[in-house]
């Protein structure tokens, strides 16, 4: 027991050290890409709690990114509320929204494909509401004005470096929390629901309640990244933070790496984001070609590794010569 605990702690430390060395490479483009990798890994882990562990594949998740981004941007524009605080207000808003739509869907027994469809409807409805709502900037979106007075207090940095580290801290905190959840009663109940809802009910599990809890936690986590993203780019619009493409990317990251594995999203993001960035850089001139290539690569990976790339890493890991005596 202790040996295994120690080993996982060492593994985590190694990952953390590697990830914290990466931002030191002094290229703004590299740092921007790295930020996006960490951002998508974070979003993938949050999605995984609901989609991978509880088995409720959701398509609405971009809405929580949007709610986090919009809440913090508006509170900053109106009253100069620091994002360190407003991100939690955004998370609360997202949690409430998730609770509401989750109740509407799960109360009436929507599951599988039908929950997936309903969640698309909520995202699209929200996107078009925001596009036609002048108070939140309508279709043009919101520009977060630069603050000359103590900019760091408002999450505004000239270099991309601090954003990378901030995202890294959030990602790691999220992974630790997610692991704690997964190993607790909550996590076991999530998995039981994914495996068989009727059997779960017969074992005393209030499936409606635990699906809602999973949804709310997943939404709150997702929302925090929305705030960070908004202050990282300085500009948000329905097209960027409330788009169906964003949800697709989150789902790809989680499933590509391996749904229901937590660390899979880290691998998924490290594959998808660079692929996305580099296909766009090299093939973006011909409109759409980059997306065709990206799509084909993702299909290829899914066909070859239907259980996620984390299984590939596991295979390599087990083939490595044993240098430690702990097996």
């Amino acid at each position: 027991m202790n040996v295994r605990l120690e080993k996982s702690a060492i593994n985590k430390l190694i990952i953390l050290i590697i990830l914290s060395l990466l931002p030191l490479y002094p290229s703004p483009y590299f740092r921007r890409t790295l930020f996006l990798v960490l951002y998508f890994a974070y979003l993938g882990v949050a999605w995984d709690l609901l989609g991978g562990y509880t088995g409720q594949g959701s398509f609405v998740h971009a809405a929580f990114v949007g709610l986090g981004a919009y809440t913090s941007a508006l509170l900053f524009i109106w009253w100069r509320v620091t994002p360190y605080i407003s991100m939690f207000i955004g998370a609360l808003v997202s949690a409430l929204f998730a609770g509401l739509i989750g109740y509407l869907c799960f109360r009436f027994g929507l599951r599988g494909h039908f929950f997936f469809l309903a969640s698309i409807a909520f995202l699209v409805a929200m996107r078009y509401s925001f596009t036609n709502w002048d108070l939140v900037g309508g279709a043009t979106g919101l520009i977060i004005p630069l603050e000359s007075h103590v900019p760091w207090f408002y999450l505004q940095f000239e270099s991309k470096l601090p954003y990378c580290y901030l995202m890294l801290i959030f990602l790691f905190a999220e992974i630790l929390l997610a692991e704690k959840i997964v190993k607790s009663k909550l996590g076991y109940y999530f998995v039981a629901i994914r495996e068989d809802e009727l059997a779960s009910e017969s074992l005393g599990i209030n499936t409606l309640r635990y699906k809602l809890i999973s949804f709310v936690i997943s939404a709150a986590f997702t929302s925090l990244a929305g705030t960070l993203y908004a202050f990282f780019v300085g500009y948000i619009a329905p097209e960027t933070v409330l788009s169906d493409i964003l949800t697709v990317q989150i789902v790809i990251v989680a499933i590509l790496g391996g749904a229901g594995t937590i660390y899979g999203s880290l691998i998924g993001a490290f594959i998808m984001v660079p692929l996305m960035e580099y296909t766009r850089a090299f093939l973006g001139a011909r409109s759409g070609l980059d997306l065709i290539v990206l799509g084909s690569l993702i299909i290829l990976i899914c066909v070859l590794y239907p259980h996620g790339l984390i299984k590939l890493i596991g295979k390599i890991y087990h083939k490595l010569p044993r240098i430690r005596g702990d097996h």
Binding site: K185, D196, L198, A199
Partner: protein
């Protein structure tokens, strides 16, 4: 003996099909009841009405004097009444231990306490040594035992077993009967639904016979075996 479960005039309809008609009986503490009847007699429907998976259209179900008609299955399980399924519903991609642990987490607040209890239950049903095997890789007989273990882990007072011997070899049935006798001795009340009469005769103290949604007989096994109505239901009129 204290009455644990009282079923009063329960009726159930699916569209035009009358699945149950005015079924009443009681279950006392620490009894073993056999619920038998030919295919389509309404046995599974009755279990589902009692455990909250269906809401009966008429009639009431009382558990320890409290009405539980129409409560959700998880609520009824938390009160101490649960069932196993006719078709195996083990959590196939989880290990044996995790399956039983999920049941044990209901009444044990601490996880290591639940793990300890889960291991005990696994031993009771004869699955020790297979704790880390994935449920999907077990033989059907072992999956049945696993479902039994998972249900016992929720610490019920009454356990309803839906055709738990279906698909087992005679040797496996005999083994299962021993396990059931053992858990009954520890104080668990059992209601066993069986399609095959022979499987239930050696263990049941009282037998209830359903036929076409109605209760046609009730009594000790010997009496049921000689009951004309029962023979007629099973073999048809001469």
């Amino acid at each position: 003996m204290e009455t644990l479960l009282r079923i009063e005039n329960v009726s159930m309809r699916f569209g035009g099909l009358q699945a149950l008609k005015n079924v009443s009986f009681t279950v006392k503490n620490n009894e073993v009841i056999g619920l038998i009847g030919p295919n389509g007699a309404g046995k599974t429907t009755l279990l589902n009405c009692v455990t909250g998976f269906y809401k009966p259209v008429e009639g009431k179900v009382f558990y320890k004097g409290k009405e539980i008609t129409g409560l959700k299955p998880h609520k009824i399980c938390q009160m101490g009444l649960t069932k196993t399924f006719q078709l195996i519903r083990a959590f196939k991609s989880l290990s044996v231990l995790d399956n039983v642990l999920i049941g044990a987490l209901l009444k044990s607040s601490r996880k290591n306490e639940a793990v300890k209890f889960a291991k005990e239950v696994i031993k009771t049903v004869g699955l020790e040594g297979k704790e880390n095997v994935l449920a999907g890789n077990l033989t059907p007989a072992d999956q049945r035992s696993l479902e039994l273990a998972r249900a016992i882990a929720t610490k019920p007072e009454i356990l309803l077993l839906d055709e738990i011997a279906a698909g087992l070899t005679p040797a496996e049935v005999a083994e299962l009967v021993e396990i059931l006798k053992e858990i009954n001795k520890k104080g668990l009340t059992l209601v066993i639904v069986e399609h095959v009469m022979q499987a239930i005769m050696p263990i049941a103290g009282r037998i209830i016979v359903l036929h076409e949604g109605r209760k046609i007989a009730e009594g000790p096994p010997q009496q049921i075996r000689e009951n004309e109505k029962v023979i007629e239901a099973y073999f048809g009129e001469e």
